[in-house]
């Protein structure tokens, strides 16, 4: 069974742009309404879809970054973490980086951006600091090392 990768890449690009724009708009809205559950769900779904799409093209660095964002959003959904301006700014940085990474999907020589490691560590730290702090105990964070381990399938 031969799958036309170009078709999938085109769909990936279009889907990613739509998801990233939706996430960006929702994050802006979250600055005004930091407790709005539906807005948090919208951002979570965007990260979740990006994670899955990137994994389908074996773009694991992007998938892991989206996964790290999803983990933070999951804790926000469960009200373990709160949408502070600083946390929103961190997620916006991740959205910016994902937007930069998306076009490199077809680049066989692509390098792992140095910013990626820092961001993954920052995101993991937020999850780590929230572990056991809220109404729902959070699982242990993956940490930045997850980039090298590949997709964990969660």
């Amino acid at each position: 069974m031969k799958i036309d990768r170009d078709t999938l890449v085109k769909a990936f690009m279009a889907d990613s742009e739509e998801n990233l724009s939706t996430m960006e708009d929702a994050l802006t809205l979250l600055e005004t309404y930091p407790e709005d559950e539906e807005t948090i769900r919208v951002i979570f779904r965007g990260a979740h879809t990006l994670k899955g799409n990137a994994s389908l093209l074996e773009f694991m660095e992007l998938s892991e970054l989206a996964h790290a964002v999803e983990d933070v959003l999951d804790r926000m959904r469960k009200q373990v973490l709160h949408a502070t301006p600083e946390l929103i700014s961190l997620i916006l940085r991740a959205v910016d980086l994902m937007r930069q990474m998306v076009p490199t999907v077809t680049d066989k020589q692509r390098q792992v951006p140095s910013e990626l490691v820092r961001l993954m560590a920052d995101l993991a730290r937020r999850c780590s600091s929230s572990a056991g702090a809220g109404p729902t105990p959070a699982p242990a964070p993956d940490g930045a090392g997850a980039i090298a381990k590949g997709h964990g399938g969660r």
Binding site: M1, A11, R45, H48, K51, N53, G153, R154
Partner: protein
């Protein structure tokens, strides 16, 4: 007679992957929807498919909500539903199967996997059997 597949996912890329994997298969017809509510609309429009593949995390109506409604309406008893999800933890799979899914295929998956699941779930009684609990890759 053609078998009909309904794929329900808010990711246009996943739908494109299904089209690429199953779109040209002889005796298969593929319909698509972006969420559970659209899936019910598609079923109204095209009739009940032979197999439904559905994502879990979607806006409007997610995969588990779809399964709950499909159980109430009896659809679940007539049409096998397969969850396609990036969530592969044991509790996710259990939740999906308990909600009535006949199989659970984790993303990323090999396109060939989809056809194998369709063949198993549409096999005649006495054939290879169904794929309940299948946690394919």
């Amino acid at each position: 007679m053609k078998k009909t597949i309904l794929v329900v996912d808010d990711s246009s890329m996943v739908r494109a992957l299904f089209r690429a994997a199953l779109g040209d298969v002889e005796d298969l017809q593929l319909h698509q929807a972006c969420n559970g509510a659209e899936a019910f609309e598609a079923i109204k429009q095209y009739g009940e498919p032979d197999v439904i593949f559905i994502d879990v995390n979607m806006p409007v109506m997610d995969g588990l909500e779809f399964l709950a409604l499909a159980a109430k309406t009896g659809l679940q008893q007539r049409v096998p539903v397969v969850i396609i999800s990036t969530e592969g933890r044991e509790e996710d799979v259990r939740r999906g199967l308990e909600a009535g899914a006949r199989a659970y295929v984790r993303k990323p998956f090999q396109p060939q996997r989809l056809l194998a699941v369709v063949e198993r779930l549409t096999a005649r009684p006495g054939g290879p059997g169904n794929a309940r609990g299948d946690q394919g890759t």
